[in-house]
Symmetry: C2
Subunit: 244 residues, 2 copies
């Protein structure tokens, strides 16, 4: 199996980095291949804008993002960092997003990865999406850390909602692209050691235990039940209404 | 009343820009004051990273984002573009976010505005958040455009969910900061005129009607019922559990 980890954290010694390394080592020990997109290290620019298309604009008077994406895909003139990300996704069977929850979502650099890499007219069209999406057959999962404990992520809880609801948008986008989406995996109480309420020894054990659980989870990831989403067959009227 | 519009679109002639102008003109005609943060025009950098704190680091060995935000706030050394955004929010009574729905959320440049502007230790602390948040008494609303029609945004619909659920994370973050959050306002079928299924005249009418409705909505915005969120009094055990 080929695994791509899209990893997003500004600090190389972060716990997110450890989780990324854990995943890499666990899969490689089982004979799988792993690639990493380290968005901060790559200096990935998350802001979708006209400069990315300036060498080959199709609409010169105004910047229409979807037209430029479509044209760049058709004329093989996408920015090279975007082509590279697409090639890595095409290569993988499993895509893991490793990131800290910032303001109840993924950090901006990872949001922009969606804005720029999932190219209109190339990776999705009006007939190639949802259960007929470009990446059909591949799995995806969000692996997320939060400072707050897992228990606060409940309906109307202090964390805002369950992690499934908070990441609904991100996971639906992955479904739109054809991925089979596994439930998000949340690591709670991951924070700077100076801010945790735990005793130092307990905090160290908590981190170790989190790593062990992640290893176990990944070794059995083929058994995990995916999230369930509607697809074309569930909708009438070109997707405008749910069948009753 | 003072109104801040945080506007996010890469194209100055976009319909999002028209909606931003409509809001400005409508409020000014009623004697209110309006300021705009035009994130693309300002070249706002949405990527939170150590370079933003390099002139005055508190933890030099590793980049701990929350520690650096806290320290920068306390020592009055936040980046000047961040100070400016904070001053504008402090000044306003109503905050409008104007943006297109990209991948079921706000564009990356606006996500990064949250990551960078809502500064830990200054604008929120463990005792200053939710209904005791820094921006208590101010209202906020997301004004959003989508290419898909409004009717597709239903539970398990082709748009992924209702716009309230898709923007739950963003709106909960606003609640966390103390804002009274109004339901999102969604403009459907807003796209390049070459891609709409409507006849040209119908499309022109659709846009005009959308603008008129927005004007009416804004003139009566003081009557709009806010979204309801839980706050401290609804939780036990320091926010870990909901009271039954």
């Amino acid at each position: 199996m080929n695994v791509l980890i899209v990893y997003c954290h500004p600090e190389p010694t972060s716990f997110n980095s450890t989780l990324k390394d854990t995943a890499k080592e666990t899969f490689e020990a089982d004979g799988h291949c792993v690639e990493i997109s380290d968005l901060y290290a790559q200096g990935f620019d998350p802001v979708e804008k006209e400069e990315h298309y300036s060498h080959n604009r199709i609409e010169k008077d105004r910047f229409d993002l979807l037209s430029e994406q479509r044209n760049a895909y058709m004329t093989d003139s996408l920015p090279k960092e975007i082509k590279k990300e697409i090639q890595k996704i095409e290569w993988c069977d499993l895509l893991i997003f490793q990131f800290p929850l910032w303001w109840h979502q993924q950090p901006a650099i990872l949001k922009g990865w969606f804005d720029r890499v999932f190219v209109s007219g190339g990776l999705y069209t009006s007939t190639m999406r949802y259960d007929k999406g470009y990446f059909k057959g591949k799995k995806a999962i969000c692996s997320v850390t939060s400072g707050a404990p897992v228990t606060t992520f409940t309906k109307n809880g202090r964390g805002g909602e369950s992690i499934e609801v908070l990441l609904r948008s991100m996971n639906f986008s992955l479904h739109y692209m054809g991925f089979t989406v596994l439930p998000p995996y949340l690591f709670g109480e991951i924070q700077n050691k100076d801010y945790t309420y735990m005793q130092p020894d307990d905090f160290t054990s908590h981190l170790k235990e989190s790593i062990n659980k992640w290893e176990d989870y990944l070794q059995n990831i083929h058994q995990v039940e995916p999230l369930s989403f509607c697809g074309w067959n569930d909708w009438d009227n070109n997707g405008m209404e749910r069948k009753v």
